[in-house]
Assembly symmetry: C2
Homo-oligomer: 368 residues x 2
């Protein structure tokens, strides 16, 4: 039987410490070339209206240690619009019931058979948070104060993973442009983390004197200025566009999640060849109009930097004590979904959780 899991079930099955352990093991495999990814690609439809379009996003990963191959896909209608902190990119919940569509499919590398189908949301949050926390464990193991910009779903994942990975943390300051959001976040996280979480109304106040600066926003323009940042701080972001100009240049060490830092985009309206670029919409004539996102003026080529897999396997020289460092988690990897999806699958099998789909429905007896 092929197992179908829900986000609620996955949230019950996975714990942050277990995710940290599984992912660290997987990054070790990546560093030792014992696992592989097919990086993310996006296929873009023409804009339906000025700022909305369909995007089909896929990535693959194989982790031989777990004998599992994973595919992660997102089938999204995306809208770009001005927000409080610049241009925001929002997925529109247009599927029945006002829902989104993101899936992880797992396959056995021994037999080829499908093992499980599950939504990607909970794993997405856990894997992004856990990945940034693994990097912080190596680059900011003594951090006491943590500034977090963003108070959404992803920001929560960052806070939970950092608190689990860094026992040294004593204080978390959260900034978000909307007061209600940051106060709700602070109240919820104070309970969950056993840590003082303080909402602040100015990102400067959050970032100054912080040992660790995290960004988890929907903004596509920068949210942290270099001059706010302590010289010894570790910065950690989920989009390099969140970093203000000069930050990457100022760091003694920048580690990337993967050197393949941008998706390969295929556009209806373009030819067979991929279009690269942070904003593929621009490549088709700037249909965003006045909503063009600001890009940090960085001379750093992310494709030349060490990866997290290399960091956790000791292939990256340690920077001098007290240096500014940064982990740039710009692109997800299929191996993250393989590792955490398989963990959810194992735990679900142990506990009898999930719905069963006859595997035979997904097999075939003709030779393709």
């Amino acid at each position: 039987m092929t197992l179908v899991l829900s986000n609620d079930e996955i949230a019950e099955l996975l714990t942050v410490p277990e995710c940290l352990a599984r992912l660290e093991e997987t990054y070790r495999d990546l560093g030792e070339r014992k696992a592989a990814n097919r990086p993310r690609s996006d296929v873009y439809l023409p804009a339906d209206g000025a700022t909305e379009r369909y995007v089909f996003k896929t990535m693959d990963g194989v982790v031989p240690r777990y004998e599992v191959a994973a595919l992660r896909l997102n089938s999204d209608v995306i809208r770009w619009q001005p927000g409080a902190a610049g241009v925001r990119k929002d997925k529109q919940p247009l599927a029945p019931g006002g829902k989104w569509v993101g899936l992880v499919l797992l396959f056995s590398t021994r037999t080829g058979e499908p093992l499980a189908i599950m939504p990607d949301g909970v794993i997405q949050r856990l894997r992004v948070g856990a990945t940034n926390a693994i990097a912080a464990r190596y680059l900011a193991p003594e951090a006491r104060t943590y500034a977090l910009l963003g108070a959404g779903w992803q920001a929560g994942g960052q806070a939970l993973a950092m608190a689990a990975a860094l026992p040294s943390l004593r204080e978390l300051r959260v900034y978000s442009p909307t007061r209600a959001n940051r106060e709700r976040f602070a109240a919820e996280m104070t309970d969950r983390l056993g840590l003082e979480v303080r909402p602040v109304d100015d990102p400067r106040i959050a970032v100054r004197r912080a040992d660790l600066v995290g960004m988890a926003t929907n903004s596509v323009s920068s949210v942290v200025d270099l001059e706010w940042v302590e010289p010894h701080a570790h910065l950690t972001c989920v989009k390099d566009s969140e970093l203000g100009p000069g930050i990457l240049e100022r760091c003694a060490l920048v580690v990337v999640h993967t050197r393949i830092w941008q998706p390969t985009n295929y556009l209806v309206g373009a030819g067979e060849e991929p279009v690269y670029g942070h904003d593929p919409l621009q490549a088709l004539g700037g249909s965003l109009g006045d909503l063009q996102p600001a890009r940090p003026a960085s001379a750093i080529d992310l494709s030349t930097l060490p990866t997290l897999g290399e960091l956790v396997t000791g292939q990256v020289p340690t920077p001098p004590a007290g240096s500014m460092t940064c982990f740039v988690n710009v692109m997800g990897l299929g191996t993250q979904f393989a590792a955490l999806g398989f963990l959810a699958y194992e735990r679900a099998r142990e506990r009898g959780v999930g719905r069963e789909l006859p595997t035979d429905w997904l097999l075939e007896s003709v030779h393709p």
Copy 2:
């Protein structure tokens, strides 16, 4: 509800003429840049034994005309071994019940929601056959005699599609190294095509005096010699390695299915960057040993040639009458699965065929 279809159902739902019409429409869209593909990628595991390994293959395609995005995946354990006509590459049926794993997933580009999940086998055969037949309709519209090398599942798809696309056909000669296979094929196809189908025991006899030469074998070395081929023949193959040396150079026109003629390979054991090459196993140190496939000594760069989409939209100059031409169908496209998968989905909905999976199992209410 998300529809789950079987190969048997799809075989009942799809007719060759309808597939030809849908695919030709889709190639017109591709030629006019009104559809897009994310080309095939393969992730390879290390060999388990000398000649067997797991491969995870995916490709995506979006056809706005049908408001559909498709993903096609194969989760295969592949064995390379010596066969009667050179090295053969065989997918091992190791999934429960001795089955294979190839799937097509369809999504709505209006709402993002999953529409259908189906095995890829029947569509795979139909789309390869129909694609070669569409090219033949443009490049060999008057063909009377058809030589077919190969008598397997794919060869059957070629014969069925050619017979439907070319009313001029009068005779089909089939060669396969195994007598029982070619005789079974000839008997079955004589019934199904209303055409004289003659088994021959020598590929030369099949190819000489043929207006149309088709190849659909498992061989990874060449199966047709240039000197057997009529000067006015149209050749059509599913792997360029089937073509003997000099054939492509001799043609007045070679059309490719897509200029992105090779998959992007990611290998466990290599780094993050893709490895290109016809035989990615060689890139990891030639684990095939003595089974290295022969490559045709061609100076033709397939990535510079006109595509089928360009051919059907009149963007390719017609070669002089009586010239040798070739259609090289080396790489599948996600748009083929989008077009034919959606046709199967529409017909199944009209006729109440298939099993229902609650779409809500595949949706999520958290923002990924």
